[in-house]
Amino acid sequence: MAQPVTTLGLWSEETTTVGQVLGALEALRRPEPMPATRTSVMTLVIIARQRGSALRAQEAIHELGGHHPARVLTFWLDPDATEGAPGLAAQVRLLGGETDGKELWFEDIELDVHGAATGYLHSLIEPLTLSDLPVVAWFVDSVPSADDPLLLAADVLLVDTRQLSDDCFPSLASLIDRRPVVDLSWVRLQPWRELLAGLFEGPDFRPFVHHVKRVGVAGRFGPRSLLGGWVADRLDLPDGSVHLTQAAPVSIRLQCEDPSGGTATFEVARLAGGRMVHARADVVGGPTSEAVLQLPEATPAWGLPDALSRLERDPVFESALRRASP
């Protein structure tokens, strides 16, 4: 199991350059006894507009411990900092962790960028990336435009639509043509999708999958839209058959009616405050089916290990996203 990371060395400077940051990394590693460099498996770039968002993302990464060790670059883009002369402040930490008894070393670089340089972050990212490893750009509270030069420096984009504004879907849909997009909300919705699909197993339930008349999805904007988009896309439902409502936590309910007048409901929901997801299929006048799935603990890193293991296009997600976009 992964253990929490510990700080082995720290360096910071109010006015600095990329060359000095790289020099500081080397200097921090040098006194360490043995595996001083490449135990990272990716470069993870956190881009945040709010300090709190950046800190939550860092907390999630640190929670992973030695799993997915990465060189982490955190950019906090203070909107007031776009004026004035370009400048760079940096804090570099050398971190140690342990996974299954194996020691790992990785780095955490926090960069405060000022002035016009905030529009050219790719020029800061490229020299700080590790060769031959994927570069994952995690936009924790915003969505870049499709022509953002940052995309040049990233192999994969990571977002969490649960944290984004309600108008993010068209922007995300335009991004998936340029780079693979991995959505933490989508990853966390996997139990809902698996349970819902499982409810249609068996001869008593399967026929209803072709006769879905109405879908209700409740939840926060991102998850409910994706879940609704996924169902509409996979079942080829006409526009207007999915009804979305604001609620928490996420639930989905399908109402079906076959040509002979048989009706059934299929529902997957998590009770507020609990970590169990309940699924129930109910054919009126016929059989019922139930399933329960335990969710992992709701820590900042929930879904992150899975998301970081899927650094490639997901056609099912992309179709759901397109269908969910207005």
């Binding site: 350059t17 590693r29 001083a36 340089a117 050219y120 020029s123 020299p127 060769s131 490639e312």
Partner: protein, 485 residues
Amino acid sequence: MLVVFGASGDLTARKLMPAVERLARRRLLPTAFSLVGVARTAWTDDDFQTHALAAVKDAGPGWPSVVKTFSYVAGDYAEGDTFERLRTVLEDIDRAHGTGGNRVFYMATVPNVFASVAGALGAHGLARRTDETPGSFVRLVIEKPFGHDLPSADQLDRDLHAVFDESQLYRIDHYLGKETVQNVLALRFANAIFEPNWNRNYVDHVQITVAESVGVGHRGGFYESAGALRDIVQNHVMQVLALTAMESPATIDAHGIRDEKVKVLRSIATMRPDEVAGNVVRGQYDRGWVEGAEEVGYRDEEGIAAESRTDTYVAARLEIDNWRWAGVPFFLRTGKRLPKRVTEVALGFRAVPHLPFPEGMAKGLGPNALVLRIQPDEGITLRFGAKVPGQAFRVRTVNMDFSYGAAFVEESPEAYERLLLDAMTGDPTLFIRDDEVDQAWRIWDPVLEAWGEADAPLARYEAGTWGPAEADALLAQDGRSWRNP
């Protein structure tokens, strides 16, 4: 005895003094070691010693006592008196320290005085040939550039050979002093698993990248007359290429390695003028953002002509016409103001003859590659396909990494430290022989000639990018692409 010409210059302060200090700290200098600086600057011994002390930051406690023995001769290289006074100083040191007439002359000067200084050393009895001095040695270390084309390199050789034997000449290419460059030899010839695949049967193509994020800085005047091809490709890149492509030497010594390097360089055909445009891209950077700072275009740099057509970027496709490499393109590129500083050699391997996985199972699978990372983050990466854990059978490219920092506790010597010691101990293995220089110029002279034409193409690229679109097209025409290291 180390005699440094250009002793008040930048190279001496930045590279030679730190190298001497590290050698002293590691107790690798002979007890009778002495250093004599020669330059035009009107310094005294004390001035030179103060300069030497200041040149080394974080020096060990013994450095002041080493520096105390340094001497200095101020004078013009064109005046015989300078060399007469130098001879007197050297003879005094011989008598005082018992250095026995052993000398390593180091040319840390501008290249246009190489020949005249060598001639003056001969004229004033300071450059004895090897057979005239049994039991002692005189060597001459020369910094690049070794000429600016084949005729000028040949002329320089004739001038040097008029005074010194080839065995006394140590032409420095500091890339050869890097541990990771030398490791190319270890990787290839100390392992049974790589060499059988190191040929046209398995290798699809080779990419050699020497990227710099810096611009020309204050070297504008020099760079205008040199350019990236002369500054980097003709020497550093060709040396790395030769080590990557050469046959196994019978022995790892000066003759064995240099003979094989020359053989592989001879296997590269001389381009015809009409072949240059299709195989070599010349580029020059425009304004752009690098490492978070907005940088001016090359033509706006200090000391650069407004209409300059000097190459700050070169991409080239070479073929090695021999049994091992026939049909395997070697793609080379170097440039200034690229996104990051990195030097690497990447061998891209051919695809398997038949992929038994449906398309969906192997969509994350790229070609196998072996990447030799020379700087920074020194090490080796092998890229290969592996099954993604889980119920589904999906294959994705993964990396297996070897890191120098992780594998060895020993601190690597700096390139100049290694090469300076080799010159003093008389091991020329990592220095360049005259025929290597000739072969490298023979390959690139037609390109320089073609670029001299008024209508020769010059591609533009934005600072902070990986080069001009024309360089991408150079690989795209064969269905390949550059790596982003």
